[in-house]
């Protein structure tokens, strides 16, 4: 089956992420669904880098990419986080993460000389995608600094885990991305619950409830689709008595 190209997925994720930030910036909280695509794009790039056996684990690459993206968003939130112009905030976050992500990728390729195809592109994609997600989550949770490490960890896990869980004989992009979608929905669900708890009001805020509801719907659909695909892929594998292999 033909795979989705990195730049195609990234282009869609960039537009989707910007749309999500603009919607949330204007008070439409269900705009959080637009962050699912950046999750897919980042997980796809972790897959793109890790499948070449890059000398470090999926976990490292996930932490690395998210470190660039999330750190860019955290720093940008200092000067632009409270701005009434979400577009300015988005532009700052994307620019900073793109520059640092691209620079680390180029250095890994040219100076460290790890010859992984398109490492600089993948590195930039992970950085920008995670930066957009972080920026969006910061707009939902507000300037609650105690939650910064939590946001960082929850995004990292959803980005690095899909390929890690799907890797091995018979791994394919469709199943990895569907698992990424499952984890993206799970992450936005947790963010919705945390936003409810952090709001401090006796009754849950309707915006936060909307995030939870839309995330649960997405999660159910994604889990069912992923589980069907797993069963379908397992059907192709025949037990031979030898170590697991593709037949």
């Amino acid at each position: 089956m033909k795979e989705i190209q990195i730049h195609t997925l990234f282009g869609a994720a960039l537009l989707s992420g910007i749309a999500g930030i603009l919607l949330i910036g204007h008070g439409i909280s269900i705009g959080i669904v637009f962050f699912w695509l950046p999750f897919l794009s980042a997980a796809n790039s972790v897959r793109g880098m890790a499948k070449y056996g890059l000398g470090t684990g999926n976990a490292s690459i996930g932490y690395w990419g998210t470190a660039v993206g999330a750190t860019s968003a955290f720093i940008a939130s200092l000067c632009c986080g409270s701005t009434p112009l979400p577009l300015l905030y988005t532009a700052t976050v994307v620019t900073i993460s793109l520059v640092i992500g691209l620079a680390t990728g180029v250095l890994a390729d040219k100076v460290i000389r790890m010859k992984i195809p398109r490492i600089e592109l993948n590195s930039a994609v992970i950085a920008v995608s995670t930066a957009l997600i972080t920026a969006g989550f910061l707009l939902i949770i507000g300037s609650n600094y105690c939650l910064y490490p939590f946001i960082y960890i929850i995004i990292t896990l959803a980005v690095l885990h899909p390929y890690n869980a799907s890797t091995g004989a018979g791994e394919n992009q469709k199943r990895t991305l569907l698992l990424a979608l499952v984890e993206a929905c799970m992450t936005t669900l947790v963010i919705g619950i945390v936003a409810m708890l952090a709001s401090g009001s006796a009754m849950p805020v309707s915006d936060d409830v909307a995030i939870v509801v839309v995330s649960v719907c997405g999660l159910v659909i994604a889990v069912v689709a992923w589980y069907r695909l797993v069963k379908s892929d397992i059907y192709d594998i025949r037990w031979t008595g030898y170590s697991p292999a593709e037949h």
Binding site: L54, G55, S60, W64, L78, C79, A103, T104, I112
Partner: protein, 245 residues
């Protein structure tokens, strides 16, 4: 508190220290099966763990001045790593009966040549199980790890203190510690993963031949940390000027 420009230089220096420290910390994924010398995890993840412990330790002494913050970070990080090494050695020696032995030294391929531990003079050849590249963490490897963790912890603490100094005028004290901590952790993770490409998943520390590739790590981390430091400086200056206006 330090001047923003000096803080920028501190972030660069801290980032480089963090990157270089990874070369000194013995780690190997196959160490989990006692098939190679080093702590049983990837070098980058182990260094990141040590660095984060350092930042955590440094945060407790943030009000005591720069020197104590650096010492606290370095000692916290080194303690974490040495305890890990000690526990790893106990597990390997008493759990599966594998003595700590340097694979590189046993095969005569260590930085200083010879088949003996450079510090204790213990013979390494003959103690490595057949088909393995050593196991556990012998004394020279543990010393290298401790040295690396001291550097990493000090680097993390430097970045932490620098970001703390730069952002303090813009936001309240309790929030600035969290922000500085997470930004320092971010800088740590960016710099600690870069050397993984040089180490290819395994190193025995300063007695491994891969230490000779350190210049590549140095240049990469210098450039990356410089870009990150400049961005932090610019953003913090903007944020502080907004607060003052």
């Amino acid at each position: 508190m330090v001047d923003p420009l000096i803080a920028t230089i501190m972030i660069i220096a801290g980032g480089v220290l963090v990157g270089v420290c990874v070369h000194f910390i013995p780690a190997s994924a196959t160490g989990a099966m006692a098939a190679a010398t080093g702590i049983a995890t990837g070098p980058s993840m182990l260094s990141a763990g040590a660095g984060l412990t350092g930042i955590y330790a440094a945060a407790y002494s943030i009000d005591s001045g720069l020197a104590l913050v650096i010492v606290s970070g370095a000692v916290g990080s080194a303690l974490m790593l040495l305890i890990t090494i000690l526990c790893g050695n106990i597990m390997l020696a008493f759990g599966i009966g594998a003595p700590p032995v340097s694979g590189q030294t046993a095969s005569g391929k260590s930085t200083f040549g010879g088949t003996k531990d450079i510090i204790t003079g213990f013979e390494q050849e003959g103690y490595a199980s057949p088909g393995t590249d050593g196991h556990g963490m012998p004394f020279q490897t543990a010393v290298s790890g401790g040295f690396g963790a001291l550097m990493g912890g000090a680097g993390g603490a430097l970045v932490f203190y620098a970001v703390y100094s730069m952002t303090l005028p813009a936001i309240s004290t309790e929030n600035v510690v969290t922000l500085a901590g997470i930004v320092a952790a971010g800088v740590f993770l960016i710099n600690s993963v870069l050397p993984a490409y040089v180490l290819v998943g395994k190193t025995e520390g300063m007695f491994d031949m891969k230490i000779r590739s350190m210049h590549r790590t140095f240049i990469s981390c210098l450039v990356t940390s410089s870009i990150v430091a400049c961005v932090i400086y610019a953003v913090c200056e903007l944020a502080v000027s907004e607060v003052i206006v």
